[in-house]
Amino acid sequence: MTRFVLRRLIGMVVVLLALSVVIYAVFYLAPGDPAQLACGLKCSPAQVAQVREQLGLNEPVYLQYAHFLQGIVAGRDFSTGTGVLHCHAPCLGVSYKTGDQVTSLIASRLPVTASLALGAMVLWLALGVGTGLLSALRRGRFTERALTTLTLAGNAVPVFIIGLLLLLLFCASLQWLPFPTYVGLTQSPQQWFWGLLLPWVSLALIESAKYARLTRSSMLETLAEDHIRTFRAYGVSERALVTRHALRGALTPVIALSALDLGTMFGSAVLTESLFGLPGLGKLLVYSVGVVDLPVVVGLVLVTGFCVVLANALADTLYAVADRRVVLT
């Protein structure tokens, strides 16, 4: 187990380092001058040069990257003009565009995205695995066809349509719910829940179709395996067969997929965040890419990368729990 954790940790550091190098490289190849963008389109070349110097962009790329790494390990100081802003380790730098510390930018948005992703995952797993199981057990019957049609319909509609329809129905027409606004969990759990309900439902409706299909096919596959047949022959009840034996095996691919989905959700729930006005990481990423705000982009990619790697490690562990044939190395 220790070896497993250690290997994973080293792997994670390597992946994150590689990611940051790639982003730095892409950034310098891509068009767009961050100094010009921070200064404004009407800035004179001389003024842009001043801003470039202020942002440290006139240094060679490798030095900029070295400062970036140094900031993560030891922290960095930035001038505010009137004083010095100390950015504590792990410092991901300050935004070119706003001068905000990247770590605080991320820290203030992470809870939003985490709330969205985790809540939606609970819902989509319940919905997806539930309908998948039902479809597998009621194979070929009306229930299966109805469920399959419904989940596929959910998957086929983009989130900005489903979301907008839900808003129109529940907030505008019926007025059962207020238009969602994000309130932190610690501020008011109740408002947090109501504010996120529609975003969760929208995401879950879309994601659950995948899980339903996966659960269904994987369940059918497992049910057809030899050991299940043997159990059945020994007279194990159908209920125990499904819940105790088949489900366990059938869930392994579901676990793997949820880990991936959860990880990527941290940077890619942009449309949902935009539609529901949630100040999350995805929205920040899209905006920062548009204004060539390198420190923020690198910071966000690292955080998303971290989430994906972590989620995968978690999935591997759960794998071993679910399927005893798997050994962690």
Partner: protein, 569 residues
Amino acid sequence: MSRTPRISRRAAAAAVTVALAGGAAACGPTSGDAGADATPHKGGTLTVLNQAPQDNFDPARQYTTGGGDIPGLVFRTLTTRERANGAEGTKVVPDLATDTGEPSKNATVWTYHLKSGLKFQDGTAITSADIKYGIERSFAPELSGGPPYFRDWLVGAENYQGPYKDKHGLDSIETPNASTIVFHLTKPEGDFPYLATMTQFSPVPKAKDTGATYYLHPVSSGPYEVTENQNNGTHLVFKRNPYWSAATDSQRKAYPDTIDVQAGLDPAVINQRLETSSGTDADAVTTDTNLGPAELAKINGDKELKSRVGTGHFGETYYLAFNPKVKPFDDIKVREAISYAVNRTSVVNAAGGSSLAEPATTFLPDQATFGYTPYDWFPAGATGNPAKAKELLKEAGYPHGLTITLASSTSDASYQGPAIATAVQDGLKAAGITVRINQIQDDSYSSTVDSVKTEPGVFLGSWGADWPSGGPFLAPIFDGRQIVTDGSNFNNAQLNDAQVNATIDKINAVTDHAEAAKEWGALDKQLGQRALTVPLFHPVYERLYGKNIRNVVISDWDGRVDVADVAVK
């Protein structure tokens, strides 16, 4: 002047950037709350639902027209725009100063006196030194983002790096006593009172300046102070500044006790919330979100909703811009042929229809304050004049038609995308001109078309006003000395005509706005003959507001519902 495309019209419209909102005609509110008790009262909470966050809430970093709407709640300036409907609202009026400025004989020295009894939110008196410091710090590279005029206009300011690096300050801003401030300019500028409406002319107490982090707690001189700022302007809460006195401020009515700005919202959701007007949304307005064509169609069928739409105009023109350095656009006959061939009806339809865009034949917006002088040198009528265009093409040596490439953005959000480009394409087809459309990625569109190195032969351009005057509209586009070869260049035709340059200088020295306007109009008419642009349309802004909103004021300066004047009770 500002180019509106880049970030998208929506983002640009946010108060930070130059105002976008819409402009001409004597509009103002379509008066929704004509009920018995329409008198505005103090109190309540006004909600503002916006797309773009009010980021970097520092007076040095804001690029506003007339001081902006939300910034104007906190940052008072030497002069400001008159809060009045329609054309009346394009006037400059005194704010912190006693008048709009005393010019020297040649308009190179401008003197202002402060009103007495002006105070910051902490009760200390506002002095002329605070205003000088406010302008000086806008030069600091740490606080970039403001407009470019200070560097161009103030003596010795070209390479000034702000008070953090250069403690001495600018000698061209004098403060002979605590209530007097004098500006020395490099050239005559009759429009100085308009510039003095920008937030850089807002006082900043040196002792409270925290540089790059000042935006979190800016010191208020206006009726409200910032009490909450989350995620850099995504959620802002403003409460009353106890030291602001209505006696010194004739413009801001400041009815609500609290103003709650929620940004980062989706435009469809903003309009849906305003339409539903439930709960606090009944007390809501937006400063950056227009109604789209579909939403308008629905609203027009509903009397109650229609009564809650404010129509506004902001001086802005969308046009085809030619680069005469690229063949065949070096030939004026070809440019004229395209001017004749263009079908403005399909272009207006592509922009959302006649309620959201008005066809344009002049470069200047059709408002008196810009000096609007009607002309139509190459009359294309409503749908184009292909016969005349073909004739001109024949004269130019293209009897069998012509193939050209039109550059557009990939996004329709800024009216410079595929929708408008294909509408132009259709019109020109009838005249035998085949148009290929070259779509340029939206986020690099302006940097491509506004660089002399990469500028295409013809592209979809736009220009909006930094203040409602002909100067900032015509000079950057047609003044030969404003051609920038190693940065953003807005003189896209690279016109450098001694006579035009001299005329611009002459009008800049005129301090009587009406007189200057007349001359700008004449210059526009004269420039139009050169067919360097094909004006297409001026946008119109249609914006919904909540059920309880009263005292709606929409000026032609920025075309938006004025948040400083609106009441919720």
